[in-house]
């Protein structure tokens, strides 16, 4: 039995732990359900009562990545035996694989646009935040407020002007257009977050580098950047999550070449009924990059969120 004032007792820890785990389980049920559905066959996915125990199948993933054509049983019987598991799954439904689906390309679009806009937001945001933090800028406070004010309404409120503008400029349904759009939305967040992080880095470090014979820019990238790494990483995660998940603008502004996965996934409806396993498989694969990115940077993320709360 400890009598510490600041350390929680074991009962308090147990209670807190239970609470957190329960909450986590509740929030994870939909995710878990999506992942489970992605491994079901279409009949299993719509059976009632819902099946919790079932024989896993990759049919959803095969359907996600392919387009298929139905053949008559006679025509099927004449074909050579299936070459791989995907072919086999499809034959069982009296179909053959006609070619790859658009999912791969749409997923790649998401990667290009998500990471591209994140990179651009961080790049511009870091430079702007550094300038706001270190230099005497006329009307700096007003400028910062203007930057923040772009977030005071939902971005979709300006959807129609942007739609018209993009059509005029030829940016509709282009990678560049989407990267610029997501960067414009994210940059205010990036500037504000990064300014906070850079403010916390004492100027003396740069001054020491200046004295040691480096130029201002060298001092910035050799001394300030490494110390802002934590802040940059957590800001990058926030930017990526927004750009990766954004749905409304993606639906509005993209339809083909630059369509991102969130806009594409709901269009997988399948032939003869909703193909829930394929949609679930798309959602599952779509979740992975952000999960991996977050797990890789989670140390920075945690440190980043509490950064500056306690002075060392």
């Amino acid at each position: 039995m400890s009598f510490s004032v600041t350390e929680p007792s074991s009962r308090q820890k147990w209670f807190a732990g239970t609470l957190v785990i329960t909450y986590a389980l509740i929030t994870m049920i939909p995710l878990l359900w999506i992942m489970m559905t992605s491994f079901k066959t279409p009949p299993d996915s719509i059976s009632y009562p819902p099946k919790v125990v079932y024989e896993p199948s990759l049919e959803g993933y095969v359907n996600l990545f392919t387009t298929r054509t139905r053949l008559s049983p006679e025509a099927l019987a004449e074909l050579p035996p299936p070459e791989n598991f995907a072919e086999e799954i499809v034959r069982n439904r009296n179909m053959v694989i006609a070619g790859p689906s658009k999912f791969g390309g749409r997923f790649l679009n998401s990667v290009i646009i998500g990471f591209g806009s994140t990179f651009l937001s961080i790049f511009l945001g870091t430079l702007a935040a550094y300038a706001f933090s270190r230099f005497k800028i006329p009307l700096a406070d007003d400028l910062l407020f203007f930057i923040l004010s772009t977030r005071m309404m939902p971005p979709i409120a300006v959807a129609i002007p942007i739609f018209l503008m993009y059509r005029q400029l030829g940016l509709s349904d282009t990678h560049l257009g989407m990267i610029l759009l997501y960067t414009a939305v994210n940059i205010s967040l990036a500037v504000w977050l990064l300014k906070g992080f850079i403010d916390e880095i004492p100027r003396e470090y740069e001054e020491a580098a200046l004295i040691d014979g480096y130029t201002r820019f060298q001092a910035f990238y050799k001394v300030v950047l490494p110390q802002a790494a934590t802040g940059i990483a957590s800001t990058a995660i926030f930017c990526l999550i927004f750009a990766w998940n954004e749905y409304a603008f993606a639906v509005l502004l993209t339809s083909g070449t630059a369509q991102t996965a969130p806009a594409f996934i709901p269009t997988i409806i399948g032939v003869g009924g909703l193909d829930w396993p394929a949609i679930a498989a798309g959602a599952t694969i779509f979740l992975l990059p952000v999960m991996i990115f977050t797990v890789l940077l989670r140390k920075h993320l945690l440190r980043g969120i509490t950064f500056g709360a306690v002075r060392k």
Binding site: P202, E204, Y205, E207, A208, A209, L210, I211, D212, G213, Y214, T215, Q218, V223, P226, Q227
Partner: protein
């Protein structure tokens, strides 16, 4: 190695003047103190010499070359920061070698140079440690190492001992002084601690409210203060000030302090009006024969000496006398001043009136 001349240096931040029309000269190899209360402009002056701030007007000469507008990297001046500013993402060795790397020195030479500096400072065993876990003293040594490694023309130090605890500060100040004597490099040192300035400095500039009040050796500054501010700021307890109205004229060596005629160093100026009679506590002796009388209010025992606090017609007076002397509170005593040490000031502008005592010291003040 280097002589630094500051001429009419001025720095304004908007409406605020941090340094006003300051001029002084730092001789080659001097340990030079910039002393003053916080906000007096001493750090700004130091930063202008190093190139971290650009002056609004005025010139800075380093070995005859005008450098006031050069970037810091072109000045060959090292700077030791109060918080040391060691690069936290590098270990000790990298921190020390960083200035050499910027010069593009060969790796082998860098290694040899760092090893030499580490030996001088006695930090060979921590070279490969990260700077995060170092003690205050070791951080200080690493910061010094980083500044001496490239053998700059001059060192700027901004309260380098301010971040250390009291016990260690003394030790480190001796180490600093020894290092300076060994290298003989011109050093400009900012401090608000008058004791530190007196102990370590070859010369001191006392600044107040953006203005240089006085510039001279510690002895001159203590014995021959150029202004009321300097007299008050230096010394503990500070100088006694006895305000009186009267007149002095050149050649005179007595003033009328109320009804009392008191000897002073021979005066070299004619002044009249509200004046101040300044005398250090240790130059007051308690003597029943003295015509100026005061009532003892308290005595602070300090070991070999004691500070006797008295109330006189001119206000509170403190005297430093031998601790064997018996004084009782409430007693009336006579005061006598060591006349050759007295400085007279003008009340209105605070300047010392020139006399045989301070004439020479005030020439460059």
């Amino acid at each position: 190695m280097a002589e630094i001349v500051i001429k009419n240096l001025q720095k304004n931040f908007g409406e605020f003047t941090a340094v006003r029309e300051s001029s002084f000269k730092i001789e080659d190899g001097e340990f030079f103190m910039l002393l003053g209360p916080s906000g007096c402009g001493k750090t700004t002056t130091l930063r202008m010499i190093a190139g971290l701030e650009l002056p609004s007007s005025g010139e800075i000469y380093l070995d005859g070359e005008e450098i006031s507008m050069l970037p810091p990297s072109k000045r060959d001046i090292a700077f030791v920061f109060q918080m040391f500013a060691l690069y936290p993402h590098m270990n000790v060795r990298k921190n020390i070698s960083y200035p050499l790397v910027s010069q593009g020195m060969k790796r082998r030479d860098v290694k040899a140079k760092v090893a030499e500096v580490a030996r001088i400072l006695g930090i060979e065993d921590i070279l490969d440690k990260p700077v995060g876990g170092l003690s205050g003293g070791d951080r200080q040594r690493v910061a010094l190492g980083r500044s001496i490694v490239r053998e700059p023309k001059a060192f700027m130090m901004d309260e380098p001992l301010g971040a250390l605890d009291a016990e260690f500060r003394e030790h480190m100040s001796e180490e600093l002084k020894a290092l300076h004597d060994r290298m003989g490099a011109t050093t400009v040192y900012v401090t608000h601690d008058q004791l530190e300035a007196m102990q370590m400095g070859d010369k001191i500039v006392v600044m107040n409210n953006a203005v240089v009040e006085q510039f001279g050796t510690p002895r001159d500054i203590y014995d021959k203060p150029a202004s009321l501010f300097v007299a008050d700021f230096i010394g503990s307890p500070s100088m006694n000030f006895l305000p009186f109205s009267g007149a002095v004229s050149a050649g005179q060596s007595q003033v009328a302090l109320g009804q009392h005629h008191v000897d002073v160093p021979q005066q070299r100026e004619d002044k009249q009006g509200e004046l101040v009679f300044g005398v250090r506590p240790e130059h007051i002796s308690l003597n029943d024969g003295g015509s100026l009388r005061a009532e003892v209010q308290a005595a602070e025992y300090l070991g070999t000496t004691q500070i006797v606090v008295m109330k006189s017609e001119f206000g509170e007076i403190k005297a430093r006398v031998d601790s064997t002397l018996n004084v009782t509170v409430g007693e009336q005593v006579g005061l006598e001043f060591n006349s050759s040490t007295v400085t007279l000031f003008e009340q209105a502008n605070g300047r010392a009136i020139r006399s045989a005592l301070n004439e020479e010291a005030l020439q460059h003040g």
